[in-house]
């Protein structure tokens, strides 16, 4: 408990976070890129074709991780927003700012690859059903958080406005998750469940698992790096950042 309390207080120091997160960011990035590469090549070239969908099912190894990450990223952003609103921690604001564009890209990947997958599988690029529509709403929530940060002139008010939208928007996450169970939809139910074995054979789900874990590591690496950028910009007039700039000049 004491260690947790110390960590909490240290999170109030941007400099401490910048220095501690640097190596973690690089490590997670490298691990993530390797995981993504292995998972995608495995899924593309080695996994057997689906008995019904043939080879188009291989889109899954890109689509599912991107979709999972677009949701996880939003949950993290919502939590950071709550921390900002409750404890006014500056670092939480930076996490919201850094996470939004990353999550938006994952969301775009999920939507576009889903549309491409839908064409040969469902016979249509797009349907306005519960799953696809709720993910489209998620993309607009990301855009909203990004736009609020840009549009509100005072930085502190911008951060609070974006945090409120990030927190309120989390209601979309359970809707996305359970949309395939609550409503009649073309979209198939979840591949991975915590409570049951995957509905696929191992030679199909193992590459997916590797790809998903790779996307997670990649996401945390990019997020830490982007939070580092936020710290540098906000602390640019401080002595330690000036020293850091000088040390890189030599």
């Amino acid at each position: 408990m004491g260690a947790l309390k110390t960590l909490w207080h240290r999170l109030g120091s941007p400099r401490w976070f910048f220095e501690i997160s640097g190596p973690w960011a690089i490590g997670a990035l490298i691990l993530g890129l390797i995981g993504i590469a292995v998972g995608l090549v495995w899924g593309l070239a080695i996994a057997p074709p689906d008995y019904l969908q043939g080879n188009s099912f291989r889109i899954m190894y890109m689509h599912v991780p991107a979709a999972i990450l677009s949701e996880s990223c939003y949950i993290l952003m919502g939590l950071a927003g709550a921390v900002l609103l409750i404890w006014r921690m500056k670092l939480a604001d930076m996490v919201v700012a850094a996470a939004a564009p990353i999550g938006a890209v994952f969301c775009v990947i999920a939507l576009l690859t889903g549309a491409i997958w839908g064409r040969p599988t469902w016979g249509t690029w797009w349907v306005w059903d519960a799953r696809t529509t709720s993910v489209l709403v998620l993309l607009f929530l990301y855009f909203g958080v990004m736009a609020l940060r840009q549009a509100v002139p005072r930085e502190e008010s911008a951060g609070r406005a974006a945090a409120i939208l990030a927190v309120v928007g989390t209601v979309d996450i359970p809707i996305i998750k359970y949309s395939v169970d609550w409503w009649l939809t073309l979209h198939q139910p979840s591949t991975f469940k915590l409570t049951a074995a995957p509905s696929m054979p191992p030679e199909m789900y193992l590459p997916l698992l590797v790809s998903v874990l790779g996307f997670y590591a990649f996401f945390f690496g990019v997020l830490l790096f982007a939070v580092g950028n936020e710290i540098l910009v906000r602390e640019q007039r401080t002595q330690w950042v000036n020293d850091l700039v000088r040390s890189r000049l030599r």
């Binding site: 074709p49 491409i116 997958w117 790096f225 700039v245 000088r246």
Partner: protein, 68 residues
């Protein structure tokens, strides 16, 4: 390996347009996600270095005009 040769791999049982365009979009997205913060970091250090150089140049000039 699931495919007998490169042609079969690229052809994807006729679904090549869908599979490869989906992977292309995903890879572009991953590259954008990675490149944006890396470029921002490089630009930040370039801008700050320039600012510090200008400042020290300004200080030198002030010193020179004071001593003359």
């Amino acid at each position: 390996m699931n495919f007998a040769n490169w042609h079969d791999f690229l052809y994807m049982g006729g679904h090549y347009l869908f599979v490869w365009s989906a992977y292309g979009i995903g890879v572009v997205g991953i590259v954008i996600t990675l490149a944006r913060p890396l470029r921002a970091r490089r630009r930040f250090f370039a801008d700050q270095a320039q600012r510090l150089r200008r400042q020290s140049l300004g200080a030198e000039r002030a010193d020179a005009s004071r001593s003359s």
